[in-house]
Subunit: 348 residues, 4 copies
């Protein structure tokens, strides 16, 4: 088939840059436009000297409508509130959209307005938007024009818990997710909170009980459970570049052995290229997925308490953002789902 | 009063070295002996060049009985299983013992043998041993000859949860502790697991469902609750030098406001020098306690789920080991509890 | 004697905060004022929660003249260009000034204006200002009202090279200093260059051939040499919180053994509490001086090339800023030079 | 052409693992054997769980001779002293060898024995061995059976200095190289020196004046200069995973502008894919080459001292080891030199 013409709006944030890194080596895609509000007019390789001699283009001003004329697909990596006002039926008639932001993730706009505290400007498109968690939404993604790429914490949490929730093996009101992220998850915007000397050599929980990925996880798990799931989600900032570790706790609805649960995970994920199931007694660590699109999942049954502890690890910029976005692009264009995403993780 | 003559057995591990750092500036103590199995005969300042020109002594072979003749108090910083066989009535008649290891922490020797998988050689002394969590055991500590200094995770976890448990405000079968530690907590022994390039830029959970601090936390909380507490405890390794963050989850037994719970914490800890209670919406971070003996505690009430999330932060080598040990020494010798421990945290 | 009343202007930067940390435990000083342009009106313990419950004061607006009425000594930790316009004869008649900034370090105002590209507003006071490198200027410091506290790189570089330069053992046109600093040296101001994900996992040289500490090092070494010294100085940013390592290269003017050079260093520094001379084959590392006022110095004679390589290590915030400033205060007020600065380094 | 059958001896060290990572995605190579003395018999994906589900092979015992029967090329990633005794004419008649160790790098065996303190067991093959610095030895590499892959510090240092040395623009007795490396350069072997808490938050110089890469740099530069080069080389350990920064100092033989020197670098490197020349005022940082085979080079002319400061940056595991080895493989087999090495660097 022809090469896919790709535009990236918000190309100078970390998720945008990771899209560039992956697409640079993608055999079926060509980047035709790198847009950036902050750096328009500057060479991309000045913003990220890693691309010196590799990319000679300048950053463009963000203009979704103009770009829709020349691109087959546009990735949006924007702060919330922007995509919902910019993406229109007119745009979608010309090109496909993969939105890495939050605007089209929640199907319920009230929930969006409640957690994000801004009006939702694109309610009319919510029905068409497909939640782009590829392993669970593959068929719908293939048919849509608008993909809402899941959040980083969300991807890791849902992937870890989904089989248990869908099989009613976990009490849905017992779920607690204690998640840890590297600092790139906070974006490239400067603030005292991201200053090296403030972040390094420390760990903290933040947005305790009020992080915006909470309703996103709940909505998806509720769909799987067939009933409302309300859970506790606590994100943490860890002094490292990349990686998310989601440690998920819940009560088993019935006593179960490690082996019987492993069978369920095997059934759902055994054939999934990007999901790797750990052996008994082994648990994911973020270092083993760095730079890759893998989700590593392991779990323990805590017989003393009747709980299960499921642990998932991803690279927040890959499976948690740009990698999954490219996986979605592959689905949208009928390519092999793993195309351009098969490199081994980088360690150390 | 006279200067306290102090010996340290196991002085070349990280906890031992932190004892040296604190005692070096302690106005009422003098180190008379630094013992080390691995480094006996070598100058202490070769093992830790930070003490160049400050400490000129050589490391001594470990000989508790001989040392008991010349010291008023001996700190033991040894792997588990050693203290219980070395500490004897004869030793205790000559000097006081503060054991930073695990051997005398659990009152129930069966529990010890089950979790540590070695026989307990000092059962006869278990009755006398006092669990050295100073804020909760002050009066008993003052009267004993043998203090079992609490574990690092344990100190942080119990301090965070104790008021709620004692006041029956938290369902005791609902408690989950998700704790994160800096790498110094793993000790100075070399292993691939502590190699820089393996630990850096990654986070992992370890000993999921089976860490030995679990029964220690449970035993103490059970005493406070007046009934058995069984909980889930998950430790994590974080790429930083020092610090423990314990994030504790539990169901409230009755609806409660932040303010009403703050009152309870204030009642228990309001006058405690080493406990700092965070304001509403603020949470502890390990950077703010580095190098100090403080426990910072903050919490959120998650109304959506009826849970409370209590977060505690300590420096694992200070309040989690050497600092609390010196606080215990101060109690044992009738000194001001804060003596030698009043320096401000070091940041950044 | 009476307690020294201390004011700090610029108390919320890293150097200012380190002054607070050291002075908080200083037995002869009391902080009477913490001023901060950015945080005036806010509790100091909100800016640095490490001081929660320890310091209850609010930050004050910066008003040097008013403060001179109530303080015995004022530390200035300000960007360059401010101190020279604020410090006046009137202020100096009321209190002593220790300036941690650059304004009074260079005796030659033309050099200042050339390297800093701003006019010098306080030329009239340059004669009185004493360069506060305590080990070399002790007698003059004791008599002055205005101390120019040396820069961090400068302190480490001069301390390392001074004996060789003074004894004419090194060819003065052969000196190259390759220095490495932790990120706290860049201050607390936010910028993309100090963002965690940009600094972490990388090393870079910066201001190659044009860093402002160059003329400061040259001026002091020229004074010692009795002739102009022009050298190459290259600073680097290292992903760590604290520490400076200065690696200094130069041609020996005559062949020399390690031992003969060690004798010279011993002669100059053997009785200096804050200088620690390494044994043959041992070299300083920043970890061994963290949190302390020590300068560790080691060297190698490279017989193959006729060069000497002298390596110095300091904590940039202590001997490189706040610690040396307090050492200067001790000298100004006739106290023991080491008072309040005798804590052991903190490791790990 | 047919797929190249590749064996790796020493596949479980960091350089070996990086070979695996690169070759895993190489379009013209297939790994047929992963050998490891320490892990023989264990699944490779247990040693490096990053390869879970990707590589299912077990590690094999190291048997160069047997392996030469089935492989077209064998990479050796072994401690020094082993390759020289194992590589024989018999082996070379069956397959090509790329040795990542030190044994065949120095053409002068006396120099080898002097710096490595072991006898050289393969002197007979030294004449055939080609020093595999691809940009400078391309034609010889294409014709040989035995490539000595350069050291990491060496690659970065020689690439930075070679044009100046070859053009006699730098005084050869004036060269000083101050180089900084990430911790992966120390290998995966465990030792206290590589323990996280010992390396993190510190920087040190090591092997001052006596590092074994010194004679390697000198020999190559001497060949280019046409006369003996004796230089000072100081390696440093930096708390990061990957990267080498070599800061090279030297006296210019004649005054020169930045532009005139840039022209020379452009002449030598302008068409080299893997060499990226920085613009005036810009300097390499290791973050921009991470995971890639690039050498970034920038320089400053220090008019005040008549010196030039050339700075080079590489990823020590890629251009400094495995990447350059694959580049050599491409040359040996007549492939495009960049094949399998064209991925963009990974940041952050």
């Amino acid at each position: 088939m022809d090469t896919i013409r790709v535009g990236i709006i918000g190309a100078t944030g970390y998720a945008g840059e990771e899209l560039v890194r992956i697409l640079y080596s993608h055999p079926a895609a060509e980047i035709v436009n790198l847009s950036s509000k902050s750096y328009a007019g500057q060479p991309y390789s000045k913003v990220y000297p890693s691309y010196k001699d590799l990319i000679t283009d300048d950053c463009q001003p963000e203009d979704l409508e103009a770009l829709s004329e020349e691109a087959d697909v546009i990735f949006l990596a924007l702060p919330h509130g922007l995509a919902s006002s910019k993406v229109t039926e007119k745009v979608l008639q010309k090109c496909k959209i993969i939105d890495l932001g939050a605007d089209f993730r929640l199907q319920d706009p009230d929930l969006y307005e409640q957690w994000y505290q801004v009006p939702h400007e694109g309610k009319g498109l919510l029905k068409e938007a497909v939640y782009g968690l590829c392993e669970w939404k593959r068929d719908e993604i293939r048919k849509t024009r608008l993909v809402a790429n899941p959040g980083c914490y969300t991807t890791c949490s849902i992937m870890s818990l989904a089989p248990l929730v869908k099989e009613h093996m976990i009490e849905v009101d017992s779920v607690i997710i204690d998640a840890k992220s590297g600092v790139s998850g906070a974006g490239r915007g400067v603030s005292l909170g991201n200053h090296f000397a403030e972040v390094n050599e420390s760990i903290k929980a933040y947005k305790v009980g009020c992080h915006r990925h909470t309703p996103e996880i709940e909505e998806q798990l509720s769909n799987l459970a067939g009933k409302p799931v309300t859970l506790t989600f606590t994100p943490h900032l860890v002094p490292m570049q990349r990686g998310i570790l989601a440690v998920c706790y819940g009560k088993l609805t019935a006593p179960a052995t490690w082996e019987s649960i492993a069978e369920v995970y095997e059934r759902y994920y055994g054939k999934e290229y990007f999901v790797r199931l750990m052996a008994k007694g082994e648990y994911p660590e973020t270092r083993w997925v760095k730079g890759s699109n893998f989700v590593d999942i392991g779990f323990a049954v805590d017989e003393r308490t009747g709980r299960i502890i499921v642990i998932g690890a991803i690279d927040n910029l890959v499976k948690g953002a740009a990698g999954q976005a490219v996986q979605n692009m592959n689905l949208l264009f009928g390519l092999a789902e793993t195309l351009g995403l098969e490199q081994a993780p980088m360690f150390p």
